[in-house]
Amino acid sequence: MAVTATPPTARPATVSSRTGAAAVTTALVLLVAALAVVDITQGTAAVGPAEVLKALTGRADPADASVVVASRLPRTAAGLLVGAALGVAGVALQAVSRNVLASPDTLAVNAGSYLALGIAAVTGVSLPLFASSGVAFAGGLAAAAVVLGLSGLGAGTVRLVLAGTALALGLTAVTEGLLLLFPQQTEGLYQWNQGSIGQNGFDGVLGMLPVAVAGIAGLLLVARRIDALALGDDTARGLGVPVRATRVTAVVLATLLSAAAVTLAGPIGFVGLCAPALARPLARWFRGLRRLRSAMPVAGLVGAALVLGADVLLRAFVDADTAVAVPTGVVTSLVGAVFLVVMAARLRGTGGATAPDRLRIRSRAVFLTTVVVLVLALAGVTIAAVLLGDSKLLLGDVVNWAQGRAGRTVSFVLDTRMPRVFAALLAGAALALAGTLVQAVTRNPLAEPAVLGVSGGGALGAVILVTTVPVAGAWGVAGAAFAGSAVAAVVVFGLAARGGYQQNRLVLVGVGVAAGTTALISLLIVLTDPFNAAKALTWLSGSTYGRTMPDVLPLAVVLAVGVAAAGVRHRELDLVSLDEDTPRLLGLDPARGRLGFLVLGVLLSAAAVAAAGTIGFVGLVAPHAARALVGRRHTRVLPVALLLGAVLVCAADLLGRTVIAPAQLGAGLMTAVIGTPYFLYVLVRSRR
């Protein structure tokens, strides 16, 4: 700790920091080596430490030796390579965008690469490894280009993460849709969208090693220039650094590294975000590590330690054969999420997101027109949703049904279709309302039940209940979802509350919790019910399949309460969303109102999750779009957001039910597919 006390300008500090950096690097090398050794001794064959030692000294029986050479070592090597590549990519992206949230995950690079590989697989082209890494590179680069193009390099942190997480969600949804459209596995196996470092021989590792080495070497070469960018673009230019060229080079090389990792092992979540985040505190103690040239190897080592540590942990706690079925990416996401949450909660001075909406004053006519248009759209979508499906109906059928005199087929179709339409409409409205409330309270345009992990917590609660009590009723599921959401919300808001809702911290903690719940849900299902793809689909991406009216009832009740409460207190919402001081000046206690609105938001998201699974995007898009359309006053925002949410989810559900009928896509996948382009469009427009 004495090092921190050293004045930064003092000469001797450079010397001691250099030794410090060397010490840190050595310690990390030892840690990674220790993890690698442990990893080599773990696996499904009865080849433990003794046999491995014999194999490495060439005295083992040939079968044991081949296990070490063709299974253990490739897996460990892949872990090292993937971890190092993602760690280095993450630190380079963060340096070049001057943004602690930049990473292959948040810039959608991993998602883009994985989608490109998915498209290649679906079209039936079987590519050699090198070519598929090229495909992955192209996909990742395209995604990064879109994100950076929309948000601008070095521009607002929030905009970058907004664009990146939005695109990543959308791309992942498309990949998932592709896997459903062209199922390769008929055994009912669910594709987790998570990678695994298990390898079949050394071919993959050897194929990707040159790519990774080239990427890391290239980044080391431009490291000094990237360091100069940290001083600001103008200063960097003054120093003779070609700013634009340096940025482009760094992004391309980082993408190359992520693409190599995705090609080798599939997407391994959060390593690129966490490794630099974990390496950063070290830089606070050892100034030498602030330079990218020494920070990159450290981040790479931390990345490798994360991936190997996740693998070691998994194999230590789960029996060897079951561990095979659990993707490594699930465990890194879990480990990474915990670290991310802890790190984010301890972050100081992360700065706040400025509210991106300009204060728009819209006339009453605009508001009324918007509402009328939306009501009509809602009516249209609802009618279409009721009439369309595998069996097309006409309105007379619905009238007959409503009067209880419909024929057999029509009754059956509508009996099963109506609850789905209701679930979609109500879930959309509830999520939109929850998003509006949370955004108003936090004054954070990124805050949304799904992004903050509140929806994920709800889904986790529901999955735990459904797994342990198979006959749980609708109210039970809703209760469990609420418990889960409440825990997630308490964690997120509790950890982020210190010093006000410092907004980057709130989102960072939320993203961590969301990723953690997703990983836990995956883990729970893969361990208890591995062949139940439908269950995974519902709780990870949202679906209205199989809903009955009693399932929808809790949601309807909660939504009615929520709308009434928000409607009565809309002025308080306006005040709370303004700033910290105005409510106090007016003699109001903002804390109590805030808490009430938050609880309501959590309740709404939990009810929506219980009825329709985790449907993302709606709580983000609907309030955002509503404010853009009618200004900031909640008396106007609330109805517009509610209508938008209902229209969006209902349309998504309709599409999901009809595009590949009789098979179906989840409503959550469709909201992401519909929501992403819209969201990016809003982002582009708000830039002007």
Binding site: G43, T44, A45, P62, A63, S66, V67, A70, R72, S126, Q184, Q185, T186, E187, G188, Q191, G195, G198, Q199, N200, G201, D203, L264, G266, A320, D321, V324, A325, V372, V373, L376, G380, D390, S391, L393, L394, L395, G396, A406, G407, R408, S411, F412, V413, D415, T416, V471, P530, F531, N532, A534, K535, G546, R547, T548, D551, A661, P662, A663, Q664
Partner: protein, 325 residues
């Protein structure tokens, strides 16, 4: 722009309302006459009442579809018809049934439009979906598999479906033939000196350079058939409670020793034969005793590992032929 935004939904809604008037089906009127009623108790303990032997039947899983076809009842609706044709060629469909969607989420709309007399579903379907299906038509819910007694469970399912469709005589024949085929297979294997030989049946798949192997333990249907054929299951892993399946990777095969390694893949699914493709150059695989001795057998495509008597008879015949070659 705003005017367009305003008029477009209005016009759409109006068009929808106008175009969508009328009915696709006349309002309900008369009651049906009943013939001799059938009452059954299914796996959920629910009483299933039918007016008579079901003729228009829908199957939501391939095993019950196979049972139906074997019993001479051509189903009107089948989940994932293409998949069935690929994976269950042992008992091919004799008609062109309507595709009702995926096995995990069959489409209620499509099933309802088929107006079935009976829906045969398995416990794999989510409870909510079963609840909805019960509104459409009587549902015979059968337990998909039971690792405690896989063959018994399968045959009971055949019986249950036979009762509901009035084909009990055919079921008796099926069961008899099944028993005969297994007995003949056992004799053929014993004659070839393979009585008590160790067998390991598996399937495998590939995802991002990783090869996963699924051992069929003695709780699986195929594992139980192997034992009836006088073979000994070599897997040491514990399977799940329904299907008796475990999971492992290529390393996990090193515990097998000298066994007969048998698997089924499918030419329609590229990633389904890692043993001949991805693992061919793997030194762990090459060092396995049964690989060295050439005791790796790929059986014919289209024998459904979780199927009925037809699939299992085809399996027994193919296995005997392959082992005694």
């Amino acid at each position: 722009m705003r005017r367009l935004l305003f008029t477009a939904p209005l016009a759409t809604a109006a068009a929808l309302v106008l175009a969508a008037c009328g009915t696709t089906e006349p309002a309900a009127d008369d009651a049906k006459e009943s013939t001799e009623a059938i009452t059954l108790t299914d796996a959920s303990g629910a009483e299933v009442e039918l007016d008579g032997p079901a003729e228009k039947v829908v199957g939501t899983e391939w095993n019950v579809v196979e049972h139906l076809v074997s019993l001479g009842v051509d189903p009107v609706g089948v989940a994932d018809v293409k998949g069935y044709k690929t994976w269950d060629a042992a008992v091919p469909l004799k008609n062109e049934p309507k595709d009702i969607g995926t096995r995990g989420e069959p489409s209620m709309d499509t099933i309802a439009s088929l107006k079935p007399d009976l829906i045969v579903a398995t416990t794999d379907l989510q409870p909510n979906a079963l609840k909805q299906l019960r509104k459409i038509a009587p549902v015979l819910e059968v337990k998909s598999a039971d690792a405690a007694d896989p063959i018994g469970r399968m045959l009971e399912n055949v019986d249950l479906i036979a009762e509901a469709t009035g084909t009990t005589e055919r079921a008796a024949t099926l069961k008899k033939d099944f028993g005969t085929t297994l007995a003949e297979g056992r004799k053929a294997l014993a004659d070839a000196g393979l009585d008590g030989a160790e067998i390991a049946f598996a399937d495998g798949y590939v995802a991002s350079n990783q090869v996963s192997v699924r051992p069929y333990t003695s709780g699986s249907l195929i594992g139980a058939v192997n034992e009836r054929l006088g073979l000994k299951n070599a897997w040491k892993q514990k399977g799940d409670e329904a299907y008796g399946l475990a999971s492992t990777d290529v390393e996990g095969l090193t515990g097998l020793g000298k066994v007969q390694f048998v698997y089924i893949g499918n030419d329609g699914d590229e990633s389904s034969d890692p043993f001949a493709n991805e693992l061919a150059g793997n030194s762990v695989w090459k060092s396995l005793p049964f690989v060295k001795s050439g005791d790796v057998h790929r059986l014919d495509d289209g024998i459904w590992m979780f199927g009925g008597t037809g699939s299992m008879e085809r399996y027994a015949d193919a296995l005997v032929a392959s082992l005694t070659k």
